[in-house]
């Protein structure tokens, strides 16, 4: 209103610009609406079971037996946490080592190759990981691990999740290490520290908040992961016995949802109980996000160098004298005990003791080395870690391409499946995936870009805006299976869309919306203010400035971010498995209300339902990989193209 008063000599500008502003605001608030929707649907659907079972019994109950009316989620919660923990134990050393190698050790020209290679990991759809786990890792564990009676296990799940968390951990920690000011390194080197000492004692501690973020992000990805764990953990709803027995089968919350949602009777207690599991999952993820924010704030205060932290740093760090003096000893003792327990449980008492002593002896020998030699040994170890990471990637991709590429043929790509998928092609799955991509883009791009432009250009810091951002933040951390559940309850059942293309597109659009909003906002914010001011100074309206100056300038950022999001959507299985896909189609529907086939689900279906269709399985995996990776490749080519063309 006040704006209208100020510019009343120019009547036209009020209606248009303010309408646009309101419109964009509405679009942005859609993000919050979606979060509210999701919570509302999940909470309201879960109430019945909580009422029936009781909240505490539900969470602490140790038996999950829906057919007998027993809903004890404790083994599922512990399964989720254990698998995540195991994944971290595996991904942390590998991820950090690789990040250190890329950022601190590798010569510059290799750095630019290694990082994209690691990013390829994140382009592999989770169902492909699951497929690889099922075909390679599970049999490997069964045949090679001493004491294994079966391959489906916590170990297999953690291994797969660890690989999946690697790209996040590597790229985010590498960014953090890279961002450590050069002056810290110089200061350390100038004191006669070796490069390795500089890395370990200065660079890594200085980057600790970024590395923490990397770990938490990786952990978030692992907790919410569905397909890969579902296919390899055995899904027995038990707490391993003993608790560190990684060869025991376990079941995660996500796997339970994916397995039991498909045929559960709508409206039953079991149905409601599944929604409560989704709520638990959401709660865990939100808790992790919350903790990560706190940890990051604290570590920033301690190590960070931004202005805000500096003021706070003037306050004395609360640290007891005793702790600071004995912390080293305590940490060492804890490490030795953990090491001993881990090795013991794996190798048995006698060999466990021998192995522990051996590890400690090696460690002591290492620390006694002259610093130069220690650097050589450490560099060698980091290089080994890097090589392992690359080897894993080559192994996964190589295995799938070697067996899948020969299957590809014109017929395979253009024919309908026959004989329940045993023979014939995957034409409808390819088309279905493309339809899903296009539909998802049609919904997510306008909403996401509109909301991003609003946040980047129009919003002020108010309570409403903070609510918006919180909504987007939470939407971003939500596991994809929860989107699937929500899509089922909301679109398929409540709005009566049934299993349909439109329900799948809406669900996927909600999934990628936060990514598009964020990249748009960031891209818009990087447009130099001088440009905007130049346009405004020429008498252009805000909206004209946005459309003619800001958006074209921000376009490369927006487009690459959006393409990456689409790539993610294209490979997702969990969100579409209860909303849009059918396993088998002999003719394709033409309307938005018809269900579709899709490559990720088709691969899941073939891998778990049609055991003899190995050729078809590998062929589908290759086509899926090719589509998703070409999307990612397109994004990175575009980024390179634009970064050469424009430079700010």
């Amino acid at each position: 209103m006040e704006k209208a008063d100020r510019v009343n000599f120019m009547k036209r500008s009020f209606d248009k610009d303010d309408l646009i502003r309101l419109g964009l605001m509405a679009v942005a608030s859609a993000a919050v609406v979606i979060v509210l929707f999701i919570f509302a649907f999940i909470i309201s659907n879960s109430l019945d079971s909580v009422r029936e079972v009781g909240l505490w019994d539900f969470i602490s109950g140790s038996i999950w037996r829906p057919s007998g009316g027993e809903f004890g989620a404790f083994p599922l919660i512990s399964g989720t946490l254990l698998v995540t923990l195991g994944a971290l134990m595996f991904a942390l050393p590998l991820g950090l080592g690789a990040a250190i190698f890329i950022s601190e050790i590798a010569p510059a020209r290799y750095r630019n190759i290694l990082k994209p290679i690691c990013e390829v990991f994140s382009g592999i759809p989770s169902v492909v990981y699951g497929f690889f786990g099922l075909m390679v890792v599970v049999p490997f564990i069964l045949n090679n691990m001493p004491g294994a009676t079966q391959g489906e296990s916590w170990l297999a799940g953690s291994f797969m999740l660890g690989i999946m968390a690697l790209p996040t951990i590597i790229t985010v920690s590498e960014d953090a290490l890279n961002a450590v000011p050069r002056s810290y390194r110089e200061a350390s080197l100038a004191m006669g520290a070796t490069r390795w000492e500089t890395t370990i004692k200065v660079v890594v501690p200085a980057a600790v908040s970024g590395i923490t973020a990397a770990i938490i992000l990786g952990m978030g990805r692992a907790i919410g992961e569905t397909m890969a764990v579902l296919m390899v953990t055995g899904n027995a709803a038990i707490v391993p016995e003993p608790i560190w027995n990684m060869l025991s089968p376990v079941r995660t919350l996500t796997a339970t949802l994916a397995m039991e949602m498909s045929y559960v009777a709508v409206g039953s207690t079991h149905y409601s109980a599944l929604f409560f599991l989704a709520l638990l999952l959401l709660f865990i993820v939100l808790l992790v996000n919350f903790l990560s924010n706190r940890v990051m704030r604290r570590t920033k205060r301690k190590f960070g160098c931004d202005v805000k932290a500096r003021k706070k740093a003037l306050l004395k760090l609360p640290r007891s004298r005793i702790w600071s003096e004995y912390s080293h000893l305590i940490m060492k003792a804890v490490f030795v005990i953990l090491l001993f327990v881990a090795l013991d449980s794996w190798l048995g008492l006698l060999y466990g003791i021998v192995a522990t002593v051996a590890v400690l002896a090696l460690g002591t020998a290492y620390s006694r080395l002259p610093s130069g030699n220690r650097q050589t040994v450490s560099y060698f170890m980091m290089a080994t870690v890097m090589a392992t990471v690359i080897l894993l990637l080559v192994l996964i991709l190589g295995h799938i391409f070697m067996r899948g590429l020969p299957v590809l043929s014109i017929d395979f790509l253009t024919q309908y499946p026959r004989n329940a998928g045993l023979s014939g092609g995957i034409y409808p799955a390819i088309v279905g995936t493309l339809k899903l991509i296009v539909g998802t883009m049609a919904i997510a791009l306008p909403l996401g870009i509109g909301a991003g432009v609003y946040l980047g250009e129009y919003s002020r810091d108010s309570r409403g805006t903070r609510l918006l951002r919180a909504g987007i933040e939470n939407l971003n951390g939500t596991p994809s299976i929860v989107f699937g559940l929500f899509g089922f309850a909301a679109f398929v059942i409540y709005f009566g869309m049934g299993y349909s293309l439109i329900a799948g597109c809406l669900t996927l659009a909600f999934l990628i919306l936060p990514v598009i909003i964020r990249t748009t906002e960031e891209a818009v914010k990087t447009v130099p203010p001088e440009l905007k001011e130049a346009s405004l100074a020429l008498g252009a309206s805000k909206w004209e400035t946005v459309t003619k100056v800001v958006l074209p300038t921000a376009f490369p950022g927006i487009i690459t971010g959006s393409i990456l999001a689409i790539g993610r959507a294209a490979g997702e299985t969990a969100p579409i498995m209860f909303t849009a896909v059918v396993a088998y189609q002999t003719r394709m529907g033409s309307s938005l209300m018809d269900p579709v086939m899709a490559l990720p689900y088709h691969l899941y279906y073939l891998a778990t339902n049609v055991p003899n269709a190995q050729d078809q399985q590998y062929g589908t995996a290759v086509v899926l990989l090719l589509i998703v990776m070409s999307i990612f490749l397109a994004a990175s080519l575009l980024r390179q193209y634009y970064s050469k063309k424009f430079k700010w």
């Binding site: 929707f37 999950w64 009777a265 339902n609």
Partner: protein, 272 residues
Amino acid sequence: MSIILAIAITAVVCIGGMSVLGGGSSEASETELSVTGSTTVQPLMSLFKENFENVTVGVSISITGGGSGQGISSAAQGTADIGMASRALKSSEKTQYPDLVETRIANDGVAVIVGSNAGVTALTMEQIRGVYNGTYTNWNQVGGNDATIVVYNREASSGTRDCFESVVMSGSNFVLTANEVASNGAMKTSVANNQNSIGYVGLGYLDATTNEVTVDGVAPTVQNVTDEVYPIARGLFLLTDGAPTGWAGAFINWILSPSGQEMVAEKGFVPL
């Protein structure tokens, strides 16, 4: 403040819009055929529905679950046009609802399969139950090799598990350490990959690669299921109040036709 208002407005618009979108398809005036009952039959019924609606104009079928008991009572009381049941009518039900007509549309048979090193080819019902409730943990306890039994089970909402549980387990619970897989195919793969395993699949999944065992001496074959001598089997029934007529009759006839029975096989049940 204005943002919160905008959020509220957007919410209303979204819900309204999607309701219209979703409701759009059922606007045309069609005869509605309501089907309710067994969740085992439900997925099969969904498949029937889709395909029947594709070949027929003027009918729309709505399906709800609720269990066999509810299917029987709803059909008898006329709250549903067709009831679904995964068991035959009990004699008490027959006297209570004399007009109720049951039509068998498919059979459901479950074969027990074992890994290559189990060393058994025949098990009794009691032995299978013992393996699945945790009484027996080594194959040598049921006449096989000395090896730990690795038990595979289906997920909780599976109809195959439902059939297996109702016939074999007779009230005792599945051992908690059993692995769970989400489909017949996954079961087959898992059992094939682990030489000490035991699992169960729909009859349609047996082939040269599976090691199925006889149950109480009877082999799991389609013939034995049809003859009702194989124990882990049951019929799937539709119930109508009086002989099926009109759309219900047309629908049930189509189900019994070759194209309907093809769907039966596709879902892993035994066609008639």
